[in-house]
């Protein structure tokens, strides 16, 4: 079975209006640049995006906000995007803010066939509203549900045509869990390597999770805060 695609445009051909898409990355680090740009070009509307952050005004998911393709963002921190804040305060954008660890675990649970789990994060806060609370060993925990998503857009460092992936540095972040969680998982890699060239012992994402893969182009890898000694 062929998972290999020529480019982002071909790989997202069946993404539709109103779909839910997970996007890997932390800030602008490890985001699927090619897939986001292809989605902007495609113009798909009313998307729900699950991503830790919402990019900046003119890069990353910010590009999709600018074109008003996003109906709802599910994120943990959205502080770097003024267009986002404007749309939100004007009621033009739905936002679901979720503790970062809960966001990560709800992705992991989705991929792991765990429909729900208990976490201490958010107990006693507005996050706990309308959620089931249960005591374990005398401490309160909140029941949180696995996410459901139509697609996962993933960025990896190296990958083979079967879909085995490795990530580089902290560009790993949400990518591995989201790769397990999409109904259809689409991966862009910086370098497509021959099958058999990756050591089985150091694969971060086993091929079984990956439905489509292609080698991305022209990575900008913009840095939000270049900080030096």
């Amino acid at each position: 079975m062929n998972k290999l695609y020529n480019n982002a445009h071909e790989a997202i051909i069946d993404v539709k209006d109103n779909n839910t898409i997970m996007l890997g990355g932390f800030g602008l680090c490890g985001i699927p640049e090619n897939l986001i740009q292809a989605l902007v070009k495609k113009g798909t509307k009313n998307l729900t995006c699950i991503s830790n952050n919402a990019g900046v005004d003119d890069f990353g998911i910010g590009l999709l906000l600018k074109t008003r393709q996003v109906k709802k963002m599910i994120s943990s921190y959205v502080g770097e995007n003024s267009e986002f804040e404007r749309q939100l305060l004007n009621g033009e954008l739905e936002v679901d803010l979720i503790p970062q660890g809960t966001l990560a675990e709800r992705c992991r649970a989705a991929g792991a066939g765990i429909p729900a789990f208990y976490t201490p994060a958010g107990v006693g806060t507005e996050i706990a509203k309308n959620k089931e609370i249960k005591l374990f060993n005398g401490k309160e925990y909140i029941l949180e549900l696995a996410f459901q998503s139509d697609f996962a857009f993933i960025k990896a460092w190296k990958g083979d045509a079967l879909g085995n992936l490795i990530y580089k540095g902290t560009a790993r972040n949400f990518n591995p869990m989201m790769a397990t969680a999409g109904k259809i998982t689409i991966v862009e890699v910086e370098e497509l390597v021959p099958i058999g060239s990756l050591d089985p012992n150091i694969i971060h994402t086993p091929s079984i999770y990956v439905d489509r893969i292609f080698e991305g182009k022209n990575y900008e890898k913009r840095i939000e805060k270049i900080t030096t000694q």
């Binding site: 932390f26 800030g27 602008l28 680090c29 490890g30 830790n52 994120s75 943990s76 921190y77 959205v78 502080g79 770097e80 804040e85 939100l88 305060l89 936002v95 803010l97 503790p99 970062q100 660890g101 809960t102 966001l103 990560a104 675990e105 992705c107 992991r108 976490t119 201490p120 994060a121 958010g122 107990v123 006693g124 806060t125 507005e126 996050i127 460092w157 580089k168 540095g169 902290t170 560009a171 790993r172 972040n173 949400f174 990518n175 591995p176 869990m177 971060h204 890898k221 913009r222 840095i223 939000e224 805060k225 270049i226 900080t227 030096t228 000694q229």
Partner: protein, 219 residues
């Protein structure tokens, strides 16, 4: 009045123990890394997926694939490890991080903390703060004693949406070191040149003066 933010960081660095795994929040907490005593070794956790975070890179070593939770470029030290976000919060919720230092907009005398939202004004999100405060064994808050309007940030009850309940153990401000015990602020140390009276006036919550009160030592 009292300490500047660098001195607050310096004072908190005295709370570190050899071998501690430490998560430092954005702002003043980040500065603590510059004041780690020479005779101990601590390992920094960054919740975006790194253990063993090093200093900021030299200009020529900047790597876009290596950032901290504040989105700043950083480096790794020998013995570091990189992992995904789920693993990162697994170790946080699992209680393996020994000390978490956070900034705050408000802290209550019950140890509640508010630092993620100002209704109608600021909508940045909680990031990893809710997971950290719900899980960490030891949480220290680093902040100014009062806000820009001069109002106390140490309150009987938080007025802003809270991030976590009954979790803050210690607060280090520009004026004082204050522990939280039995629903009270306990004044343990005052900043050089700051009077107990000044601290009392800047503290809205119930403040008990510790028997062992002393001046902060900043070497």
């Amino acid at each position: 009045m009292g300490l500047n933010k660098f001195q607050i960081a310096q004072r908190i660095s005295q709370e570190l123990n050899d071998g501690d795994y430490v998560n430092l929040g954005i702002g003043i907490p980040t500065l603590i890394a510059n004041y780690i005593p020479n005779n101990i070794s601590v390992i920094m956790q960054s919740e975006n997926g790194l253990l063993g975070m090093g200093p900021f890179p030299k200009r020529e070593d900047v790597d876009p694939d290596l950032i901290n939770a504040g989105k700043e470029t950083i480096t790794t030290l020998d013995g570091s490890s990189i992992f995904n976000s789920s693993e990162s919060f697994a170790m946080i919720r699992g209680g393996r991080v020994n000390l978490t230092v956070l900034g705050a907009m408000e802290v209550s005398q019950a140890g509640d903390i508010a630092n993620w939202k100002i209704p109608g004004k600021m909508v940045k999100g909680m990031g990893g703060a809710m997971d950290l405060v719900a899980s960490a064994k030891n949480i220290i808050v680093a902040m100014m004693h009062t806000n820009k309007k001069g109002e106390s940030k140490l309150l009987k009850k938080c007025s802003l949406p809270i991030t976590g309940i009954n979790c803050v153990k210690k607060i280090v401000t520009n004026l004082a070191v204050i522990d939280i015990e039995n629903n009270n602020f306990i004044l343990k140390e005052y900043a050089p040149g700051v009077s107990v009276e000044e601290i009392k006036n800047a503290t809205e919550g119930d403040l008990i003066i510790a028997d062992s009160i002393s001046e902060m030592c900043l070497q």
